[in-house]
């Protein structure tokens, strides 16, 4: 059953994705244009058809906006991505090094407080993802207005490297599934950090303009 409000409410995730990828100055116009056409389409051909149309527009638009975002500022985007890559190399190993140093330093303590030792070991994974989130956020902050283009480019480059590493490892020894899953999570976390920074910036712009 479709409520009358659905005629005016496009798919939320699609609208959010458009907001993420559109340049800040075009975002409101693009979402407004899509909403206007969506309402007309829904009243003429039904909500299901209109929702399909909206999703099709979203997917096609994102591909164009991503390509144009990169072409519009190739050097600054590439610089943000390269900076992110260097930062990733430096930061991603830090939590492991820090927590390993703590466990090595207090070996006598852990022998009497084993649960605390286990807790520190378990903290390594969240600490790693916090570090990756930090890298994604820095890249997004550097690529102002092109947060998603920069973080997605970095994530795609990482995916490429992970793919090469997987092939190389696969040729020499059995692949550790947990290691594969953890490696694949890094690009996803980077893109999510870009999405968070972009969403916060869009909200700040909307607040400033009184929308």
């Amino acid at each position: 059953m479709t409520s009358p409000a659905d005629f005016l409410r496009p798919p939320r995730i699609a609208a959010w994705l458009i907001n993420l990828f559109a340049p800040a100055e075009d975002s409101a116009s693009i979402v407004g244009d899509l909403l206007e056409e969506y309402s007309r389409c829904a009243s003429r051909s039904g909500v299901a058809f209109a929702r399909r149309w909206y999703w099709r527009q979203t997917v096609k638009s994102i591909a164009h906006l991503f390509a144009c975002g990169f072409r519009g500022a190739p050097w600054s985007t590439a610089a943000a991505v390269a900076g992110g890559f260097l930062l990733l190399r430096f930061v991603s190993g830090l939590p492991d090094m820090l927590l390993s140093a703590i466990t090595d330093r207090y070996l006598a303590f852990w022998s009497t407080h084993f649960p605390a030792y286990v807790w520190v070991l378990r903290a390594m994974l969240p600490a790693h993802f916090i570090a990756i989130t930090f890298v994604g956020a820095v890249v997004a902050l550097l690529a102002k207005g092109r947060e998603m283009v920069a973080t997605m480019t970095l994530a795609l480059a990482l995916c490429g490297l992970i793919g090469v590493a997987l092939m190389w490892v696969g040729m020499h020894r059995p692949i550790d599934v947990v290691w594969v899953l953890l490696s694949c999570a890094d690009p996803f976390v980077i893109v999510m950090s870009g999405a968070i920074i972009r969403t916060r910036r869009s909200a700040a712009v909307t607040l400033r303009s009184g929308g």
Binding site: S29, L35, I62
Partner: protein, 110 residues
């Protein structure tokens, strides 16, 4: 070099749509005009990406209209072609006409 100032295929189509629509040209009308005349589905993202590029080149200008309720309180961004844009359309059309002049555009498959 003149070729640097001529328009790409989609840029050409967009500028022609703006010229047709005159003062009614904004995202929705431009997209619909192109779909109506070329019979191909065009994404709003492609339209805006091209319009932004044309604005950077100085071929089009834009201004914002008033916010409307059917757009969730968002304003329309209207576009119009500048004199430089009209000159670019004329150059591109002249180049196309010159290239197609005297050609028989029917290929036989034997």
């Amino acid at each position: 070099m003149a070729s640097r100032d001529s328009l790409g295929e989609f840029e050409h189509i967009i500028v022609l749509a703006l010229l047709r629509l005159e003062d009614r040209a904004y995202g929705v009308t431009v997209r619909q005009e192109i779909e109506l005349r070329t019979h191909r589905e065009v994404s709003i993202g492609a339209v805006y990406a091209t319009l932004d590029r044309l604005e950077t080149k100085g071929y089009v200008k834009s201004h914002r209209g008033d916010p409307t309720p059917e757009r969730g309180g968002r304003s329309k961004r209207f576009f119009r072609v500048t004199g430089k844009g009209v000159a670019a359309v004329n150059r591109t059309r002249a180049a196309l006409e010159s290239m197609t002049e005297g050609l028989v555009l029917i290929r036989s498959y034997s």
